[in-house]
């Protein structure tokens, strides 16, 4: 939380002035009962109409100055809160961008997005209300008590008893109910889960005729939520009646004590009225304060979550090397292994191989065998926890990470496009690519035809996540995007899964005859995709169980054979 306060620093002036103006307004409000007391004690007994008019003029003036003060305070606090939130968001965005894959995985996308939107909004509201009320409310409460002392120290003792009692009641009820709201939320989550599940599984539920059973389960969860809501409601509904009773008993006490004091000639009737007014003011402020505490509690929880994200730091450091050694060896793995968590089984272990410039490497294996992990080490998305990866003869960690990645074209497993146009998406690969470059990349990626078919061609809009393109089209566009870069190393991470076999074959053919020299890594579950590679690495449970060409592996590697024949019947394999 403290760390977040630095984003309030540029608005220090506003953050100090806002509460000060609020206090000023409060002081003016506290003067009102005194003015009224003067009217009752001076103006009325003396029948002085002019005095009454003057005092009323003072009241209006107090109101007007109070309005000006309040407006100034609102402006300053809004400015500080909004500026603070913008600062936190910018910093958070940059921070998230600096994290390595490891931290990104740990956080998860939806968490990152809620932190940046919902939580920062909570913070903004929290800061805004705090600046406005945190000083004002206690000030009015304490101020009312002080004014009571000014009016009559003996009657003021009633305030000394009432205020702590009120605070205790408010505190107690909030203490009991605030944690209970978490319970309500949990039950809401249960209802959400059931609803979501029923929608995503509607076909299965109907196929198994489970509609009624599901409705019953939903009914139970729904009932439980209602019961809990009523239970929490019963407790929090105590707040208003209890505070009302306490304040009014305070007033009863004030009148009684006041009667004694007035009878003894110690105070006047007007003073009793003023004291009653101060007591009423406390009630109003306390209710506001209770609402503030709820908001601030929420904001603090948000602040904690945001701070936790800031506390994460990237586990990677970048070197400054931009050029490698000579020679035609482009990549070398030496005894490489990686564990995602220190206590987990290794995702990869003991991987060693060398790749020469221009070669094609196929990586084959089942789900969870470590294929993606292996290729993710090449652009340094993750760092090896054992062994070393060499790029052009030097430790990959000694390179400037951005420079390293700019030489690689990556086609991820999930075909992701961004909102904009086809051209804008392809230009992610290279900012200054010409239209001819883009068309050439599309041609190789087997995407030329369908882009040409679009009314606007390269300017065809792409919706969020590229949902106006089919899965296969998206995959081809992502391949083209990587090709536009004319990379030294091209990594295709199972990026043809949504293509039918014919298109995949054409794509493979295109990649074989690239107009520039490129070392290609192809990750696949299909033996046919990798069978013509110069080097095939067969992975199982993170270990390389076979390495070589198709001809070598078909005779030497049991796992390769098994995969191969499961996809091609024996008799077809010879084709």
């Amino acid at each position: 939380m403290k760390k977040l306060l630095i984003y309030l620093k540029p608005y220090r002036k506003e953050a100090i002035l806002a509460p000060l103006f609020k206090m000023f307004e409060a002081i003016l409000e506290l003067l009102v009962p005194l003015v009224m007391a003067a009217i009752i004690d001076v103006g009325i007994p003396e029948g002085d109409n002019a005095f009454v008019w003057r005092m009323i003029g003072v009241l209006v003036l107090l109101g007007a100055v109070g309005l000006a003060a309040a407006m100034t305070a609102q402006y300053f606090s809004a400015k500080a809160a909004v500026g603070f939130a913008a600062g936190v968001r910018n910093a958070l965005f940059s921070h998230l961008q600096s994290l390595s894959y490891k931290e990104i995985d740990r956080l998860g996308t939806s968490t990152m997005i809620t932190r940046m939107t919902g939580d920062v909004n909570l913070l903004q509201t929290g800061v805004n209300l705090t600046l406005r009320l945190l000083l004002r409310s206690p000030f009015v409460v304490v101020g009312a008590m002080i004014m009571a002392f000014v009016v009559d120290p003996v009657s003021a003792l009633i305030f000394v008893a009432v205020i702590p009692l009120l605070c205790f009641v408010v505190w107690l009820i909030m203490r009991i109910t605030l944690p209970k709201y978490k319970g309500v939320q949990q039950r809401v989550d249960g209802v959400v889960l059931k609803t979501r599940e029923n929608l995503s599984g509607v076909r299965v539920i109907r196929a198994f005729n489970k509609e009624e059973a599901e409705q019953r389960e939903f009914g139970e969860k729904n009932e439980e939520l209602t019961r809990f809501q009523c239970f929490v409601g019963r407790i929090s509904a105590l707040m208003n009646p209890l505070t009302y009773v306490i304040v009014n008993l305070g007033i009863v006490a004030l009148i009684y004590v006041g009667a004694l004091r007035v009878d003894g000639g110690l105070i006047t009737q007007g003073m009793v009225v003023a004291l009653i007014n101060y007591m009423s003011q406390i009630l109003v402020e306390l209710v506001k304060f209770a609402n503030l505490v709820v908001t601030v509690t929420k904001a603090l929880a948000g602040a904690k979550r945001v701070s936790d994200v800031f506390a994460l730091s990237s586990s990677q450091t970048s070197g400054d090397r931009t050029e490698g050694e000579g020679g035609d060896e482009i990549l070398r793995f030496e005894e490489v292994g990686i564990r995602y968590y220190s206590d987990a089984d290794p995702a990869l272990s003991q991987i060693s191989f060398t790749v020469k410039q221009g070669q094609t490497v196929g990586i084959l294996g089942g789900t969870g065998s470590g294929k993606s992990t292996l290729v993710n080490l090449i652009p340094r998305f993750y760092d090896a926890t054992e062994g070393t990866v060499f790029y052009r003869g030097a430790d990959i960690r000694s390179y400037d990470a951005e420079c390293l990645r700019s030489r690689m074209g990556i086609v991820p497993q999930k075909a992701v496009l961004f909102r904009g146009t086809v051209r804008e998406n392809l230009k992610w690969g290279r900012e200054d690519a010409s239209d001819e470059d883009l068309w050439e990349a599309l041609r190789i990626a087997q995407g030329e035809a369908f882009v040409r078919d679009k009314a606007l061609g390269l300017d065809e809009p792409v919706e969020q996540n590229g949902r106006n393109f089919s899965g296969g089209q998206r995959q081809r566009l992502t391949v083209a995007r990587a090709l536009v870069r004319r990379p030294e190393i091209l990594i295709l991470d199972d990026s043809a899964s949504a293509l039918d076999y014919a298109t995949e074959a054409a794509l493979r053919n295109g990649l074989k005859n690239l107009p520039f020299e490129c070392t290609t890594f192809i990750v696949s579950q299909r033996a046919s995709s990798v069978r013509h590679a110069d080097l095939i690495i067969v992975l199982e449970d993170g270990c390389a169980v076979g390495m070589g060409t198709h001809e070598e592996l078909i005779t030497s590697c049991e796992v390769y054979r098994e995969i191969y024949y499961s996809q091609f019947e024996k008799e077809d394999a010879s084709v």
């Binding site: 939107t117 299965v204 509904a237 990556i410 499961s566």
Partner: protein, 578 residues
Amino acid sequence: MNRKNTLKTVFSYLKPYRVYLLCSLFLTLITVALTLMVPILTGKAVDRILGAGAVDFGGVIRILLYIGGAVAITSVCQWLMSLCNNRMTYGMVRDIRRDAFGRLRVLPLKYLDSHPIGDLVSRVITDVDTLADGLLMGFTQLFTGVVTILGTLVIMLVLDYRIALVVVFVTPVSLFVASFIAKRTHSFFSAQATTRGEQTALIDEMIGQQKIVRAFSYESRAKERFEDVNERLRATSLKAIFYSSLVNPCTRFVNSLVYAAVGLVGALSVISGGLTVGLLSGFLSYANQYTKPFNEISGVVTELQNALACAARVFALIEEKGEPEDPVVDRIPEQVDGDVSLHNVCFSYDPAKKLIEDLSLTVTPGQRIAIVGPTGCGKTTVINLLMRFYDPDSGSVRVENVDIRDMSRHSLRKHYGMVLQETWLKSGTVRDNIVMGKPDATDEEVIAAAKASHAHSFIKRLPEGYNTKIGEDGGGLSQGQKQLLCITRVMLCLPPMLILDEATSSIDTRTEHRIQRAFAKMMQGRTSFIVAHRLSTIREADVILVMKDGHVVEQGSHEMLLAKRGFYFELYNSQFAH
């Protein structure tokens, strides 16, 4: 749905709780009446404290006892009123939610498929919550507000009509000011909402797809774009927040004007002898509180409008037309062996885009039908028609020569076993998921089915075996394991007809092999429809439906289709002959 109908529906949901409503109204009346009494009593007490030696102690104490009594009754009534309101609101909300959920089970898939899950969930959850908040606020503050305003007016008129007139004429100014500001700020708020939406979309893309951003070194440009939209958001938010926060100070100012006016008129009438000091203090406390119900009511009205808008969305869901009713007489075929036929079936999701045209097919018991074709050609549509997830536009689907529209959906679906590509599991235990089709299955039966589908060995290794809890959508299990559980589910009830989607893309070859064996075992002697990806399945099929762009372009056995040298021949060569 227009507002009037929405309100009507809200009232119909309120009906079962009308006792609570009446109690709440009654308690409100008592509460407000007593609350309004207190300032008058206080004033009367003050009038008995005139000065040194001029205090009527007997009178003061009597009045103080009244005040004590009134306060005690008020607080008890207030609490009871809250309880009634809670019970009423949460009960109504529960009923609405139950009905909305209940609607989900009868809505046609056409509706469900065309509405994003997030949207429907937000109707059942968020919209209903907003409605609850609005109702609760409405019940507690609207009655109280209205009654307080009327009560105050009446009392003031009775006590002193001049002061009452002052209050009546000045107070509306505060309402006017509030609505003036609200109108002005509305445009700022919508500007803020637009910019915020823009920002969220950008965050969604850039953070959601951060790995791609990283891979293409797009970080600095992403940051530039973000800072730009963030700065715009800051500017619009400042305006929206500042102008909207003016409402309170402004109404407070109007309030202090009312206070001053009452003070002036009151003090002058005390001097001229028409009013006592105690009554003046009573008036002043009314003046202090009088704008409060007005402000509350305007807040409630906004909140209620919002709640009604949400209610309309929920009710639209509840009143959405369901699937055609099941026939009154359920024509269940005497025995279902797996005789399925399609007669001149036409179907399309979108009338403008023809999909399936004039498809006829006769399947005898035990036959295997393979459906093949390029990605996205509409293979699942056939499954949708067979299971009656959708009804054909014309033509008919028959089982044992009975039109499936003449049977109840339950009796039709009972005879099908279905394993889809999207493996769906419900949150619950492994066992819960397996027994979906046969809830009364014994443990032995469950284990036998799991063994038959080769799932037993991995289930055994789970922390608590068959009682292991699995999270939402099978969290914690691999794709292959989920698939095996879905197969076990069908294996347990073994209906005469099967629908299988040979999903392969995300499963490793060895698991696939196991799944393959499980499928094979299941299909023995059963009519099966298979969305086929594998050559072996296709070749062994009795009939192959070749689909392209939603049409069945060819139909026949493997040899027949190859000999035809048509689309299938092409597909076969590109896919399987490398």
